[in-house]
């Protein structure tokens, strides 16, 4: 399991359930590595700002992570983490490699409306 405070997606079933129960979802699929940690950290902070989005992580090196690894949107990706944004179960955006908090915020604002507490 990844050492983050995010919701952990541990299986394909978890993944399906998460998409079914939440309209807006961001999943960061990676390792505890230098390109991934800053993304998890940004997500942990953004979780309090974007209450209408479910923020989750998934360990890249598990069999079930093929639900992310094998997405057509990720077919050209060659850098960790693979980050996928879903709306109503459909992929609306996917990124490869490290992203800054500003870059993530831009994607969230473009694809989901902001509902803060």
């Amino acid at each position: 399991m990844l050492r983050t405070n995010l919701t952990h997606v541990l299986s394909k079933d978890d993944h399906a359930k998460l998409l079914q129960e939440n309209e807006n979802v961001m999943i960061c699929c990676g390792r505890m590595g230098p390109m991934c940690i800053p993304v998890y950290e940004s997500m942990e902070e953004l979780e309090n700002e974007y209450t209408n989005i479910k923020f989750a992580d998934m360990e890249f090196d598990t069999q079930d992570a093929e639900v992310i690894r094998n997405l057509p949107e990720c077919s050209s990706f060659r850098g960790l983490p693979f980050v996928v944004y879903y709306k109503n179960g459909k992929v609306v955006k996917a990124t490869s490699s490290i992203q800054s908090r500003d870059q993530i915020t831009e994607i969230l604002d473009e694809n989901f409306e902001k509902v803060s507490v």
Binding site: P34, M35, E45, G79, L80, S96, S97
Partner: protein, 317 residues
Amino acid sequence: MNNHFDVIVIGAGAAGLTAGIYLSRAKVSTLILNEGAVGGQMVLTHEIANYPGVENISGYELARIMKTQAQKFGCVIKSNLKITSMTLEEKTKKIEVNNKDIYTSNAVIIATGGKSRTIGAIGEDRFKGKGISYCATCDGDFFQDKEIIVVGGGNSALEEAVSLTKYASKVTVIHQFDHFQALQHYVEEAENNSKIDFIMESKIVEFIGDEKLTSVKIQNVDTQEITEKQIDGVFIFIGYVPNTENLEGIVELNQWKEIIVDKNMITNIPGVFAAGDSIQKKYRQVTTAVADGTVAALSASEYINEFKKELSLVNAV
């Protein structure tokens, strides 16, 4: 929340966190403002084996411990923000961040470290994570049995070129000079590896592909001749640049944009100190950043004590 602190530290890498630990422990109220993830370059290091007292630790873990240690002493740390303006010349220093919050202090320690140098060639941004990488340990396994290029001629470039031969079928090292800057044993190890080829006195001028990187244009710096090479991936290790771009014209920098300090980490501006990889120095390591952070914190503490004494004298009159 009170937005005035005795000291504001800019940067939460090894130097900034150490300064935070020393200052907060000495009951000097301290705020650390950090642009990226807490830990700075330490987080980019999979394994640190030369930090005395700890045989082997991941950079992430070492950073996490330093952060907890600083917070335990009362240091406030704010990360993932952007500093939009700074007034450092006045007695009261003022720093504004991107959410419009304004923080003030009597002293500032600049510990902004450095970042990977990019090539700046056409397509570099577009293919980041789609063939271009700056981290061999993170992304090496995407290039199993593929042909890759490593750009650079220093220790990191040659060390990573050798380590990438675990995955890649062939590694071509491209370097802009006719000789390497790396230590001899890194050069020998790379030269003795049958999977590694070298293209010297050359640089990449363009990254080409559709969804992902498929080729690069390489220019010979001597003849200016450009050739195209089919490639699956490019790893870039061409050194670091100090994060001092927003200090130009404010704090004195040398020709490489490193901050000029004296042996007590004092800059040209009263009440402004600097530490770590962003200052003018020869060796950039966690241990040296920690040492600089300590000296800067002690100097800032002394400055704050003098400042408070002066203030109480003025108030007494």
